[in-house]
């Protein structure tokens, strides 16, 4: 997907582009079922047969393999599944708390970092250096390491007022790390806004700050919704890292049951929980992007 603005099928600024013509919605490349519309009934028949054959073969290979019964018992045990599901979901509310709180701060801090990095003018050089150094540092260090260092290190200092809570430090660590990644995503978005948009805003007499605030950032954020969602999904999964500090969240809960039963089914249950929440998020962002794409066509024309 191109973030340079406009649909690559319709070159920017070309005469003959009439924005009143219906524009393709969404991203052409990711329409799984697109070829079917083009080919008609015959295409649909071929697609159905091919799908059934391929997935059928895979299923057959798996289900008749000699190891399947053992796998089934170890990963897909129904009793353990239902027993563990309720406990896991109960603890999952802790993950939700952690990643929702973290995400709010990440979105804010990352935007500050991205804007800092994008400021032009020599007087802003120290800010740019700071933002770049921050991003480099926290993208380099593994997240689990940051959590360990903060979660065990900070309380070790035995300073007054320093919180000891596992959840607190896990959230702080996640904010520090993910802000670095998301800042780069924002920065890509900011740079993808057409320079003429900035020119138009400055030409009206808007200051740099107001141009950022009203014209650049709103467009930049809309452009990078898919990678923002990517990072949010990563954050949702990394919320499990708080477990290394001793706090029992969903993954740790699954681990406990797994160790007690010598069975892996609880992990499968947790995976399903994650799938169930992630898919609607993805469809929602797709919808937002499609809506924004339509409006962006205008920028691609006149």
């Amino acid at each position: 997907m191109s973030y340079a603005g406009g649909n690559p099928q319709f070159p920017v600024g070309s005469p003959g582009l009439d924005p009143r013509a219906p524009v393709p919605s969404g991203d052409r490349g990711s329409k799984i079922l697109e070829p079917l519309r083009a080919e008609g009934a015959r295409g649909v028949a071929i697609a159905v047969v091919s799908t059934v054959v391929v997935f059928g073969l895979i299923a057959f290979a798996v289900l008749t393999s000699s190891g399947w019964p053992a796998i089934k018992e170890a990963f897909f045990d129904p009793t353990i599944f239902w027993d563990s599901l309720s406990k896991i979901m109960e603890k999952f509310s802790r993950n939700v708390f952690i990643f929702v709180v973290a995400e709010v701060f990440v979105l804010i801090l990352a935007l500050i970092l991205a804007v800092m990095r994008s400021l032009r003018g020599p007087v802003f050089t120290p800010l740019r250096i700071l933002a770049a150094a921050y991003t480099d540092l926290f993208r380099a260090v593994p997240t689990i390491l940051v959590i360990l260092l903060l979660g065990f290190g900070a309380p070790s200092l035995q300073l007054k007022g320093v919180p000891h809570s596992d959840v607190f430090w896990a959230i702080v660590a996640l904010i520090l790390v993910y802000s670095a990644y998301v800042a780069e995503v924002y920065r890509a978005g900011i740079q993808s806004v057409h320079p003429s948009q900035v020119a138009s805003a400055r030409a009206l007499g808007l200051s740099r700050g107001k141009t950022m605030r009203f014209v650049v950032v709103p467009q930049a954020v809309r452009r990078v919704l898919p990678p923002l969602l990517n990072d949010f999904i990563g954050l949702q999964k990394d919320s499990a890292l708080v477990a290394v500090l001793g706090y029992t969240e969903a993954l740790r809960q699954a681990q406990i049951i797994s160790a007690a039963e010598f069975d892996f089914t609880p992990y499968v249950a947790l995976a399903l929980v994650y799938i169930v929440i992630t898919i609607p998020e993805a469809r929602f962002v797709d919808w937002l992007v499609a809506r924004d794409q339509r409006r962006r066509q205008a920028a691609g024309g006149v």
Binding site: P155, I256, E261
Partner: protein, 305 residues
């Protein structure tokens, strides 16, 4: 003569008991089903010989354990070339080390030349599929729920859980379980130690569950938790070595029926061979001697009730 007879009696009784639990695998000629009264192996060595094909690597006993190999279960320090941290299992020292060496010998393998050690993570010990080991031992407790995934040997150590802490904490001087109600306790994951907290102690605060004991110790020293529940020998080791001003507060359930066992792949015919070896060791006092040597100073702690 009497010794031999009583040994045979005990051995065949034990053997009959085990044989019922272990189905035969394949047809290598090893007749392990009880009740037929046919050629039942009399000694561990016979059993091993009869099931020679069942070993992962013929002519070698492959034993899995966790890495690092912690005292007092494994001792002797590290060796160059060994991938194990803390202690090299091939030295045959420490309680589990000595038990392994003894069992191997009784199965007819010379220790350590014909014994290979492989690091096996906790999850790997019960994952389905082909195993990298003949059996694994790393302070794994027998639990009925676990019985579907692996086959367990008989006990090689009857274990009690204990509470370890540091001087000055709220639980350091506790003598009863009631005094532990308000404490924040921790336990390593995947252990029955956690069960003790949730089922016996039932404190008001949720237990902290750790990937490894080093992290639990850090939280203890920080004052974020008040005490750690682990098996009794490990508690002694931690109090003496890992925790500053460590103290073993006490042990739980003197009548506990928890025990450590080796874990095998399901249906492994080697279980009965090892059980035979363990029976021999129990009968002739070897097991007791090993316990005396490695855990003597690690069993005396007041009972918390």
């Amino acid at each position: 003569m009497r010794k031999v007879l009583s040994f045979l009696a005990v051995g065949s009784l034990l053997f009959a008991a085990c044989a019922e639990d272990n189905p035969t695998i394949g047809g290598t000629g090893a007749t392990a089903t009880g009740g037929t009264g046919a050629t039942a192996p009399a000694t561990a060595a016979d059993c091993a010989a009869a099931n020679a094909d069942a070993f992962l690597s013929p002519g070698t006993l492959t034993v899995g354990t966790g890495n690092p190999a912690f005292p007092p279960w494994w001792e002797g320090g590290t060796t160059d070339g060994s991938e194990f941290e803390f202690n090299d299992p091939a030295l045959g020292e420490g309680y589990e080390g000595a038990v392994t060496a003894e069992v191997a010998t009784r199965l007819g393998f010379s220790f350590p030349d014909q014994v290979a050690f492989v690091p096996v993570s906790f999850n790997k010990s019960f994952a389905p599929g082909d195993k990298d080991f003949d059996f694994v031992l790393q302070q794994i407790s027998y639990k009925p729920e676990r019985d579907d995934a692996v086959d367990f040997s008989d006990s090689y150590y009857n274990v009690n859980q204990a509470l370890v802490s540091a001087e000055g904490t709220s639980v350091a001087d506790a003598t009863t379980i009631a005094e532990l109600q308000d404490a924040k306790l921790g336990a390593p994951i995947g252990t029955t130690s956690l069960d003790v907290i949730t089922e016996e102690i039932q404190p008001t605060q949720e237990p902290a569950v750790y990937d490894d004991l080093a992290q639990a110790v850090t939280d203890l020293q920080n004052g974020d938790i008040d005490g750690i529940v682990v098996d009794l020998p490990t508690a002694f080791f931690m109090a003496a070595v890992q925790i500053k001003k460590g103290v073993v507060v006490g042990q739980f359930g003197a009548e506990s029926d928890e025990y450590f066992a080796m874990a095998f792949g399901t249906g492994s015919p080697l279980v009965e061979c090892v059980n035979l070896a363990l029976a021999e060791m129990t009968e002739d006092g070897t097991l007791d001697a090993i316990e005396q040597q490695w855990l003597a100073d690690k069993t005396n702690a007041p009972v918390l009730s």
